[in-house]
Subunit: 320 residues, 2 copies
């Protein structure tokens, strides 16, 4: 079996669609991996690219893609809602199947060294690929953003892992790393009271004593007229979504509210669903096959209230 | 108003009740503080003592009590379910009213110095009274237990805070400290399968991704013939017991198991019960008065399955 990683480069252009097309072109129709999607966001002025496949096959096309982003984006003129420090802001490698974290870390370092050498962009290694203290979390590295980076990078403790301690004048700096899949999971509640979502978010998120790997906040959805608990799950093995789903339900109950739906933003590994469906299978005593993705998808809609969900949201459904 | 602390010495004898009586005797009928309870546990082979009152008045009787424990317990022959490193394993001071943490820390150091000088037991200061790095958490200090302590204490980084770097040959070593009220909360399951308790403990404890302020482990109760998830809750405000109770119940469900009871070891602040009963009051729509401790106690038995619980377990019921 070929090793498969998910690679999710984020670059700092989401408005000029001609530029976006030009930048992603080197990633199209390549051998060994698939360009699953690229999603430009106007508010963020940022595009999130999703690749799936053999990481070795990705390195050269990624270099060509990054060169284009470097040449077409001028960070001195760029602005948007999303924090950023470079034209190519961040490139994470995520192990999906047939590959371990250690190997992803190696590929991240290979790419990092190459980018610094050939594109003259200073590279910070982050996540599991971080080497220096205080660089595991991307927000720590990115603090100060493009505008503050030229001073920050000259400080001893913020010298880059590859490249010189000065930013590229137009393209800034880039973080390259390896991490576990991150699940973007939102739960809908049958209320427009943001205070309820805020209290529930506080009960479940790690920073206020809840589940360690859960980041959570409240949001009011103007179009849908209800609130949501919006979450990132940084480790779905230790914090499986069925458990989050159940705890949100039991907290909502005290306000007389219910979960009406939930959504996954982006892709999720099949294992995320398997782990949760197994819980319901155990308590309701039915069998579940890990191989039947159609069935898993149906069960996820039934037990986890997934809306707007289809097979293509499951990473493995894109690579088989 | 006189300052009131809760002091909770734990000693390593819970089977020989004559010895237990002899050891606690110096704590009985003293001026300035009350011996609220002492609870020998056969499975743990350990007794938890609870004192309430003026910490200054406690020091001399505590020294007499510790001398007896030292002389009557031989750790070379002691065994039980609970981890331990000494005949007197741990002595925490907990501020309750009219006293701050800083003053509790001072009393802890006074006792520590005295014990090392007069009883020749090496003392580790822990919790808020810790001085050296890595000694805040008791499990860190206790790792290796009595059997490993004689080697460990000789390492530079594990020299005791008071006394010589060698254990007392029969009584081992003691941790003395100051901390916030900690809830010792155990949940009974209707199974003798320790693996189930282990999995549930892993799901809820902070160290493996669960609730941040929860320490949890599995234990098999020989006498009662069932397993328990045994917990310390270090912050009952962020991690209220109703939520832990509910999550343990939902995790147990996947193994077809139920919660049959739960117990509070030692005392709890009234607020712990109030916060949890309010949850059940909200979902079942009944009123709850914070002042009626009898009623709170009844509701706690009903909704949190407390067994062997009475009013005297509520700190406030002992000092009013």
């Amino acid at each position: 079996m070929k090793p498969i990683v998910q690679c999710v480069p984020n670059f700092s252009e989401g408005r000029d669609l001609d530029k976006v097309e030009a930048i992603v072109k080197p990633l199209k129709d390549q051998e060994g991996f698939t360009l699953v999607s690229y999603e430009p966001d106007k508010d963020y002025n940022r595009t999130v690219v999703t690749l799936l496949g053999d990481p070795e096959a990705m390195i050269k096309p990624l270099l060509a893609f990054m060169k284009r982003a470097r040449d077409l984006i001028d960070m001195n003129k760029q602005s948007g809602e999303h924090p950023r420090m470079g034209a190519i802001d961040v490139v994470p490698f995520i192990p999906i199947q047939g590959i371990d974290m250690e190997t992803c870390v190696k590929h991240a370092h290979t790419l990092g060294e190459n980018v610094a050498d050939t594109l003259e962009i200073p590279i910070f290694m982050y996540g599991e690929a971080s080497v220096k203290k205080g660089r595991k979390r991307l927000p720590n590295i990115r603090k100060g953003e493009f505008e503050g980076m030229n001073d920050k990078i000259k400080e001893d403790q913020w010298h880059p892992d590859y490249g010189k301690p000065s930013i590229h004048p137009k393209a800034g700096a880039t973080a390259i790393g390896a991490r576990l899949p991150l699940i973007a999971y939102n739960i809908d509640l049958d209320t427009d009271d943001i205070e309820i979502a805020k209290k529930i978010a506080r009960a479940i998120r790690g920073s206020s004593g809840g589940f360690k790997h859960v980041q959570a906040g409240p949001v009011y959805l103007e179009e849908r007229k209800h609130v949501q608990v919006t979450m990132n799950i940084l480790n779905y093995k230790q914090n499986p979504i069925y458990r989050i789903n159940e705890v949100v339900a039991l907290e909502a109950k005290r306000y007389g509210k219910k979960i009406t739906g939930s959504e996954i933003v982006g892709l999720i590994p099949k294992d995320t669903i398997v782990r949760s469906i197994k819980y319901y299978a155990a308590i309701e005593d039915f069998d579940v096959s890990e191989d039947n993705m159609e069935k898993l998808s149906t069960l996820a809609k039934q037990y986890l209230h997934f809306r707007d969900f289809d097979l293509k949201k499951i990473i493995e459904a894109n690579i088989e």
